[in-house]
């Protein structure tokens, strides 16, 4: 079975689990302390966070412990994992999800409205309103569909928007990418060719 990353874009509000202390939050997973510590480090946290109480945590730490906990399951479920986290942590999260998929063969489901992030990590996108799936498809199909995105008020990933703008302004089709380095190569190839 091919592991893949599914992104779900919806409009629901999600209540966040709170526990009195962080250790309790993790012990619920039934995982060994060793695995828990590994997961914390992967999520960019210091293991000393285990001794803290939930309410002492900053908003980014709260997001990261949820990520660390999700990584411990066979199927990784992440809800709004990029909420309140900075760009370096986001880059780290992209790496972790790719690791989960490619090295650990885990299926990953992410619920988020952060389309720049989803575009980097997801293979397949499902759009939901309430409990209904309104549309779904491979990410390039969904994220390049201007009318669809406009209809559901979904922000087009910046890297896709760039290629679209080139198409509109210069009538040149440089193709769509999910990585800025690959986009760079496309631009380079094209500009050099035109000289």
């Amino acid at each position: 079975m091919d592991s893949r990353v599914i992104g779900i874009i919806d409009n629901k509000k999600y209540a966040e689990d709170i526990y009195l202390n962080v250790k309790l939050f993790f012990l619920e997973t039934g995982c060994s302390l060793k695995k828990i510590k590994q997961s914390l480090i992967l999520a960019g946290l210091d293991i000393s966070i285990l001794n803290k109480n939930y309410f002492e945590l900053s908003s980014s730490e709260q997001t990261k412990i949820r990520i660390a906990k999700a990584l411990l399951s066979k199927e990784v479920h992440l809800i709004n994992p990029t909420k309140n986290i900075d760009s370096k942590s986001k880059q780290n999260l992209v790496k972790i999800i790719k690791l989960m998929k490619l090295r650990y063969n885990k299926s990953v489901v992410i619920i988020s409205r952060d389309t720049d992030f989803l575009h980097q990590v997801a293979d397949y996108i499902i759009v939901m309103i309430g409990d209904n799936i309104v549309t779904e498809g491979p990410k390039y199909k969904i994220f390049t569909d201007e009318e669809l995105l406009k209809k559901y008020k979904i922000k087009m990933p910046t890297i896709i928007y760039f290629s679209k703008l080139v198409q509109k302004k210069k009538n040149i089709n440089i193709g769509f990418r999910d990585d800025i380095n690959d986009l760079m190569k496309d631009i380079y190839r094209y500009v050099r060719k035109g000289e």
């Binding site: 629901k12 509000k13 908003s59 730490e61 309140n84 900075d86 760039f162 302004k169």
Partner: protein, 248 residues
């Protein structure tokens, strides 16, 4: 002088020092981005400004900040529903005693007039943020603060607020938002690491990239500069595309 002034602010939270003699100035009428990584002290600073934590080193319109002059500051917090006190949208926006006419006016401006009778618990996340903004704007603030929440609102609308004379501070971790304001203050580990206009930022990219992520267009510009396809960083995608394919 600045609208908001922070002078030599030192603040500890439990045993951890968050700020050590922090100095910060927000000019009246500006749209300032305070950009910081996690744990740089952003939320703590908002709390200090709004009185959720105590400090004597914060000045608003040259007077020490207090219960009274704080009334002229509106905040859109990152978890607005935690702050809500009413049962319906109407109750929430009119709190404590704004009249219906003013409530209707601001609700119409934000396109939530038809949600006034909705229960707070029924709101979508986007509606929540609009209600939070409405409660901040109804008090006719001189200063409007966003704590990581700017992305929920249209840029055009926000710029219209600055045109009306409202000073805006946007606390954020999103590099692309640097392009929205007129001035950016980079916070790192409780200190001002760097500050300046967009031009100044473009001239100091190497220094900033050590600690901070950059907007997509600037990252792309740097890669293009490395391959000699352009000679300076761009902040406008349109202009970059124009200049990149000058000869078709």
């Amino acid at each position: 002088m600045g609208l908001l002034n922070i002078k030599n602010l030192t603040f500890k939270y439990k045993d951890k020092e968050v700020f050590n003699k922090l100095n910060l100035n927000i000019r009246k009428g500006s749209f300032t981005t305070i950009f910081g990584n996690n744990n740089s002290g952003k939320t703590t600073l908002v709390k200090l400004i709004m009185g959720l934590e105590t400090s004597t080193n914060i000045y608003f319109e040259d007077k020490m900040i207090n219960q009274e002059n704080r009334q002229k500051i509106g905040v859109v917090w990152s978890n607005p529903s935690v702050m809500f006190m009413g049962n319906t949208v109407l109750e929430e926006i009119s709190f404590p005693n704004y009249n219906q006419k003013d409530v209707l006016s601001i609700a119409s401006e934000l396109n939530i007039a038809n949600a006034l009778n909705k229960s707070i618990s029924e709101l979508t996340e986007n509606e929540e943020y609009l209600v939070a903004l409405a409660t901040a704007l109804i008090r006719k603030p001189k200063l409007l603060i966003f704590d990581g929440t700017l992305a929920n609102f249209s840029h055009r609308y926000l710029k219209s607020l600055t045109k009306k004379g409202i000073t805006i501070i946007n606390f954020t971790t999103d590099p692309d938002e640097i392009l929205l304001g007129t001035y950016t203050i980079f916070l790192n580990e409780g200190k001002v690491y760097f500050q300046g206009s967009l031009n100044r930022i473009l001239n100091n990219l190497n220094k900033l990239e050590e600690f901070f992520g950059m907007p997509f267009i600037i990252e792309l510009s740097e890669k293009l500069m490395f391959y000699d396809l352009i000679d300076k960083p761009y902040t406008s995608m349109q202009r970059l595309i124009n200049d990149l394919w000058i000869a078709e």
